[in-house]
């Protein structure tokens, strides 16, 4: 938590300092008020006092109240500034950090968790600062000050106050110890409940096909009962809190008065009036003391939640970025990709995902990768844009190790299309011209890219054509359309090297083959790397690399591999008939 707060700017620290001073003044004024209050009380009570004196003291009290209000308003403004500034700065820092994380690290954290950390967790701490900072400063000051004010006044009263504080703190401590750990259970059960319902919703057709409605309902009912019982326990336990709090506070006032009555009775005449005044003042200070301890207790209750958030944020901020940039910006060669004895495993994993892969793609060549699910094709291709770094061996682009490139320069060479088409909340042309490759993309280029990727037809049917808006994640267009636009995005970059990570899967065979024909025509010199499941997609590649369980089991053309590579043959046979293969 403290680590995060260090991110604040100088301005924020100055604000915090001013707030501190103002809060001290505020506490002083608030503790002054009971003095005037009791003066007014005594004045009103005694016969000889003048109206003007009452008015004067009333005015003082009002001034105190008003002064404290003004100071609270200013402090409120400053603290709002600090908390907003905190979330501005921290969120920015976190966002930039996440942008620089490698895909492996992102996977480790999980995207949705990273989103929650950047949004909810920061908001949690922001709330704590907004609500808690004032309390955090004010409560101890008030407690100490108010205690010091009453400490010397009377031993019996002080004892009564001490007992009340102890009772309250004990009750709060016990409740906290009993209930707070249970909150986590409630959270878990809520998640479970949510899951149970989500399960039923997402699998609604399966549930009905299996006539499993009762099964699901019983499952839900069980979690629901667990949740309700846990909630009941928590809330019932907590419902002791308020009555005990009020009872203690009221009883304290009453005790102070009763003790006061006894003291007054036994004291000499001249002390009586002073004692009475003290009693009124003491009771209001005692309430202040109790209130400030309650405030502290509240802080200790919110603090754990916020500190969990802080921990989660720090985890991301402290994550070491494993992908370090090089400084090469230019290369002599163009359009070659070479793997030299490349192996890869996840940092904590025992087994290698890729083992000893070597191949070279020359300029203008099409190299395809095929293999069954989990064979490591996507991982292999992801080593080129350094989503992961090879554990052993070298990945060379234009004969320079990818680790030596400045990332921006490396990326400018690449046109990468992911398996899942990504769409941004922007217009069609903004989506296609997305990113930066050092060159400006003209309208014509964008149109051309859309045409090559066979998206022209549907784009021109849209209401605003190239300026039509695409919703976040492209929810307003179909999967195939998304995939075509994301291919257009790569084409618009006019890269040396294309990387297609199973990017044709949502297209039907016809579109698939037509698109690849177009692409080849449009980008004669470009090197193309394709990961695919369909034999049809890759049959005509210059080089096909067959992967099986992370190992390269065959390199060659379709025809060569049919003869030499058993795995390839099996894949091919599972998709085409023998005759068809022989016809080729």
């Amino acid at each position: 938590m403290i680590k995060l707060i260090k991110n604040l700017t100088k301005k924020d620290y100055i604000y915090a300092l001013i707030s501190l001073i103002l809060i001290v003044i505020q506490v002083w004024l608030e503790l002054k008020m009971p003095d005037f209050m009791s003066k007014v009380t005594i004045l009103v009570e005694s016969d000889g006092s003048k109206m003007s004196e009452i008015l004067l003291n009333g005015l003082y009290m009002m001034l105190c109240a008003f002064g404290s209000l003004i100071s609270t308003i200013i402090v409120g403004y400053l603290v709002a500034n600090i908390s907003a500034s905190f979330s501005l700065i921290t969120r920015k820092k976190l966002f930039e950090k996440v942008e620089n994380l490698s895909i492996a690290e992102v996977k480790k954290f999980n995207v949705s968790s990273l989103i929650t950390r950047t949004t909810n967790d920061i908001t949690q701490i922001e709330m704590l600062i907004a609500m808690g900072l004032q309390l955090l400063i004010k409560a101890p000051i008030t407690a100490v000050w108010a205690v010091s004010k009453i400490l010397n006044k009377n031993f019996t009263w002080s004892m009564a106050t001490l007992i009340a504080v102890l009772i309250l703190l004990t009750v709060i401590a016990i409740l906290t110890i009993i209930v707070v750990p249970k909150f986590k259970i409630v959270q878990k059960l809520t998640d479970k409940l949510n899951n149970s319902a989500r399960e039923n919703l997402t699998g609604i057709r399966v549930v009905r096909a299996f006539n499993a409605q009762d099964y699901q309902e019983n499952k839900f009912d069980k979690v629901n009962t667990d949740l309700t019982n846990q909630q009941l326990f928590n809330q019932r336990t907590f419902s002791i809190m308020q009555p005990v709090m009020y009872l203690t506070m009221h009883t304290l006032t009453l005790s102070i008065y009763f003790i006061g009555a006894l003291l007054i009775k036994d004291s000499i005449l001249s002390d009586k009036i002073t004692l009475f005044g003290d009693m009124v003042v003491f009771s209001s200070y005692a309430i202040q003391v109790i209130m400030s301890f309650l405030m502290l207790a509240v802080i200790f209750m919110i603090l754990p939640r916020a500190s969990v958030s802080a921990k989660r944020i720090n985890e991301v901020l402290d994550e070491e970025i494993t992908i370090k940039e090089g400084n090469v910006t230019k290369s002599k060669e163009k359009g070659t990709v070479e793997f030299k004895n490349v192996s890869f495993k996840y940092p904590d994993a025992e087994e290698y995902l890729l083992e000893n892969i070597s191949f070279k793609a020359n300029k203008g060549e099409t190299v395809a990768f095929i293999g069954s699910t989990g064979s490591g094709k996507s991982t292999l291709i992801n080593l080129i844009p350094r989503f992961y770094d090879a554990t052993d061996g070298q990945v060379l682009v234009d004969n320079i190790n990818v680790k030596d490139y400045k990332l921006e320069s490396l990326y400018n060479k690449l046109g990468y299309v992911s398996q899942k088409a990504v769409m941004f909340d922007a217009s069609v042309s903004d989506n296609v011209s997305y990113g930066n490759n050092g060159k400006k993309k003209t309208k014509e280029e964008i149109k051309k890219a859309i045409e090559v990727s066979l998206a022209k037809e549907f784009v021109e049917k849209l209401d605003d054509k190239y300026e039509s808006h695409i919703a976040q994640s492209g929810t307003n267009i179909s999967g195939g359309q998304k995939q075509r636009l994301s291919i257009a995005r790569a084409i618009a970059r006019n890269p040396e090297i294309y990387i297609f990570d199973d990017s044709f899967s949502a297209l039907d065979y016809k579109t698939d083959s037509l698109l690849r024909k177009n692409l080849k025509k449009y980008t004669k010199d470009a090197t193309i790397l394709i990961v695919a499941q369909r034999i049809g997609t890759i049959m005509n590649a210059d080089k096909i690399i067959v992967l099986d369980e992370g190992k390269c089991v065959g390199i060659g053309t379709h025809k060569e591999l049919l003869k030499t590579c058993e795995v390839y043959k099996q894949i091919a046979l599972s998709q085409l008939s023998k005759e068809e293969l022989e016809n080729e």
Partner: protein, 751 residues
């Protein structure tokens, strides 16, 4: 995660979602709460009583204060009594002590001035011997004996002039007197006179009290303030009882409300869960699951929280408000008006601030939503952002919204933070106003001091509930909105009950299916998705349905499984129309594997067995061996008892195989595979196909597939386009036709 932002913490000024029809929503809620009526009413009555008790308490506290402050005022009655008695005591015995020799010669004595002579006669007339001039005293006093004690002339002069009574005389001059059973000895009386003579009537109370403290004990006992400890004790005990009772009431009340609201929430959640399974599938085409989920958690939570916290506190605060208002006007109307006006002033001001902060809160929510969208978009497409060097674009967008959130945050936090200090100020302001006006009224003898003390408490009681009422009303509003959403779902129209007239027994089923000119249109579509589909399938046939996306392949399956009702036409299973069969009956006959791999949170075994009973572990293993995942499952740490959800090692292909295993466990006459193997690679698919073929031997099966290679050996291929069958036959027949199918098939091999 998407679009499901956690509901913001409710606080002052946070904009509330308003119900479309507040009254209707509350009415509907009340209807649902009927079962809990008694408990809720008891709880509200308790809350009401608790509030009334807390109003009556300050009244008593005032009495306590009054009673204590009585202990500050000296007993003037006794003081007067003592003074009178002692003086009379003295005056009575004085002449005989002094034994003044007042002879007429004095009057004639030339050495005495006329003035002094006049003084003497006045003094004698009034029995004020100390006013006798010194010149005369010297002459008329001599040493004498009083009751056997010698009283010298000097003693006498001292007595008269300085009030000093010689020790030996004390006992003889003053007789002991007894007032209210307290004996005052003669020396005490002398002491009293001495102290009294030093008191200046115009000096301050405290000074006078200090002097009075020097009085002898016996007299102090008489004149000291009399505190009625009995009464004080009584009031204290009474108050403690009130406090305890009111605490008990609050406790019981919240226990009841907690129980009721949680039980109510549980019922609601169960109702929603049950409702999910009673709605026709078309409902889910139009509604997102996130929306329904948020009704189960967020909306039900809002409802139960409102019931738990706000309802009782609303009743309490309204009672407090009205009660203190009543008590104030009952006690003194001028003071009451002062109190109301002084706090009203503050509240108007506060209302202004609140309405202003609403705007910022709304803005904050909106901007936060926008910012979250940017974050989500960037994080979930980070690979593209990186490779396309799109960081700048994202940063720009992010900074723009981050800055906007910052501004909105600042203002909304600031304004909402004002609420509490303002409340405090209004309380203090009212307090001072009441004190000043009260003091004025006390001066004019219009009220007693106790009234002011009472008002000091009333003003606090009066200002507190107002903010609680405001909060209570806001949460009531959001509860209404939540109840609207919850009941909207619960009241949603359920699917029609089947008119069951026939039953097909699973063991007796033959496996023939006939589609007869089926027409079906999805709700909200203009064009029918299925338009005149007709086909006959004989038992044991393997039927493949192929065609481009949107041709209606999956829809056919949906109709067959009675997920949707056919508009016109009929499907007959073994000659029986599905309209005459119950949904459960039809579904019992089919095994179905879907494209999306639906696994639930549980172990692999649980997922495979699902809701079937009496399935042995051996059977599960056998099936898994058939499908080819037995080996894989064995490699997992806990084998068949491994949990599905926290296992990243299970790939989507393997997940699909598990769902196939689940389907295979059930022996049914019909089998439907709706793109069931789309996530597994083609080699695995072949293995699975072989396993399935073994399983489906003699059964009628329907296979929907993208990959044409998988269906080449089907007995019948139905080629669908635009909701109709355009070609049918087996693979070779269709290829020879050179029609749509062969075109589709050949496109796989084009470059």
């Amino acid at each position: 995660m998407n679009n499901k932002q956690r509901t913001p913490r409710r606080g002052p000024g946070v904009p509330v979602e308003k119900a479309k029809n507040f009254k209707e929503a509350i009415k509907r809620l009340l209807k649902e709460l009927k079962g809990y009526k008694v408990f809720i009413i008891i709880s509200l009555i308790l809350a009401c009583f608790g509030a009334i008790l807390s109003i009556s308490a300050p009244n008593r506290l005032t009495k306590l204060t009054d009673e204590i402050s009585k202990g500050l005022v000296i007993n003037t009655k006794n003081l007067e009594k003592v003074t009178k008695q002692i003086t009379t005591n003295m005056t009575n015995s004085l002449p005989s002590v002094l034994q003044m020799n007042i002879s007429p010669t004095i009057m004639m004595d030339q050495s005495i001035s006329l003035e002094d002579k006049n003084k003497l006669s006045d003094a004698l007339k009034n029995n004020k011997y100390n006013e006798i001039p010194d010149s005369i005293l010297n002459k008329i006093l001599t040493d004498t004996y009083y009751k056997g004690v010698l009283v010298t002339k000097t003693d006498k002069i001292n007595m008269l002039k300085n009030g000093i009574i010689p020790g030996n005389l004390k006992d003889v001059i003053f007789d002991d007197i007894t007032i209210d059973n307290v004996k005052i000895t003669s020396s005490d009386q002398v002491e009293f006179l001495k102290v009294l003579s030093t008191i200046d009537k115009n000096s301050k109370n405290t000074k006078v009290y200090k002097k009075l403290d020097k009085l002898p004990k016996s007299i102090r006992l008489l004149i000291e303030p009399n505190m009625n400890m009995k009464k004080i004790k009584k009031i204290t005990i009474y108050l403690i009882i009130i406090y305890i009772i009111s605490a008990l009431f609050t406790f019981i009340q919240s226990l009841i409300m907690t129980t009721v609201s949680n039980k109510f929430a549980k019922d609601l959640r169960n109702n929603i869960s049950k409702k999910i399974n009673k709605l026709p599938l078309k409902y889910f085409d139009k509604h997102q699951s996130g929306d329904i989920l948020s009704r189960i958690t967020n909306d039900v939570d809002t409802l139960s929280q409102t019931m738990n916290n706000s309802l009782a506190s609303l009743v309490t605060s309204i009672t407090l408000f009205l009660g203190s208002l009543f008590m104030m006007f009952y006690t003194n109307y001028i003071m009451a008006i002062t109190a109301v006006i002084s706090s009203l002033f503050g509240f108007i001001f506060m209302g202004k601030i609140l309405s202003k902060s609403q705007k910022y809160f709304k803005e904050r929510q909106e901007e936060l939503g926008n910012l979250n969208n940017v974050i989500e978009e960037t994080y979930s497409s980070l690979n593209i952002v990186k490779v396309y060097n799109g960081k700048n674009i994202c940063d720009e967008k992010f900074d723009k919204y981050n800055e906007k959130v910052y501004k909105a945050n600042k203002m909304s936090q600031f304004l909402s933070g004002l609420m509490m200090p303002f409340m405090g100020f209004i309380g203090n302001f009212g307090y001072v106003c009441v004190c000043i006006v009260g003091a004025l009224l006390v001066k004019n003898d219009m009220i007693t001091f106790g009234v002011i003390v009472a008002f000091m408490v009333y003003i606090r009681l009066f200002t507190q509930p107002l903010s609680q009422m405001a909060q209570g009303l806001t949460s009531l509003q959001s509860a209404a909105a939540a109840s609207e959403r919850v009941f909207e779902f619960i009241d949603e129209e359920e699917f029609k009950e089947d008119k069951v007239s026939k039953v097909i027994d699973i063991d007796a089923a033959k496996g023939n299916i006939e589609f007869d000119n089926i027409v079906f249109t999805y709700d909200g579509n203009d064009k029918p998705t299925i338009n005149g589909f007709s086909a006959k399938v004989k038992h044991g046939q393997k039927v493949a349905i192929v065609g481009p996306t949107g041709a209606g392949k999956t829809t056919m399956v949906n109709l067959l499984m009675k997920f949707y009702d056919i508009d016109s036409g009929d499907i007959k299973i073994d000659g029986v129309s599905i309209k005459d069969l119950s949904k459960e009956n039809i579904r019992k006959l089919f095994t179905m594997v879907l494209q999306d791999t639906w696994l639930f949170d549980g172990t692999i075994k649980e997922n495979i067995i699902y809701n079937r009973e009496n399935i042995s572990d051996e059977r599960v293993k056998e099936i898994c061996k058939n499908v080819g995942i037995h080996h894989f499952i064995k490699t997992l740490p806990k084998g068949y008892d491994s949990n599905v959800s926290d296992n990243d090692t299970i790939s989507s292909g393997q997940r699909q195989l598990i769902t196939i295993a689940r389907a295979s466990i059930k022996e049914t006459p019909f089998l439907i595979l709706d793109e069931a193997t789309s996530n597994v690679d083609t080699r695995t698919e072949e293995l699975v196909q072989n396993a399935m073929d073994k399983l489906t031997k003699g059964k009628t099966s329907f296979i929907i597939a993208h990959r044409l290679s998988t269906i080449k050996n089907a007995d019948l291929i139905l080629v669908m386009k635009d909701g109709n069958i355009i070609e049918q036959g087996n693979h070779n027949e269709l290829m020879n036709k050179n029609g749509f199918y062969s075109e589709l098939y050949n496109s796989q091999f084009e470059i």
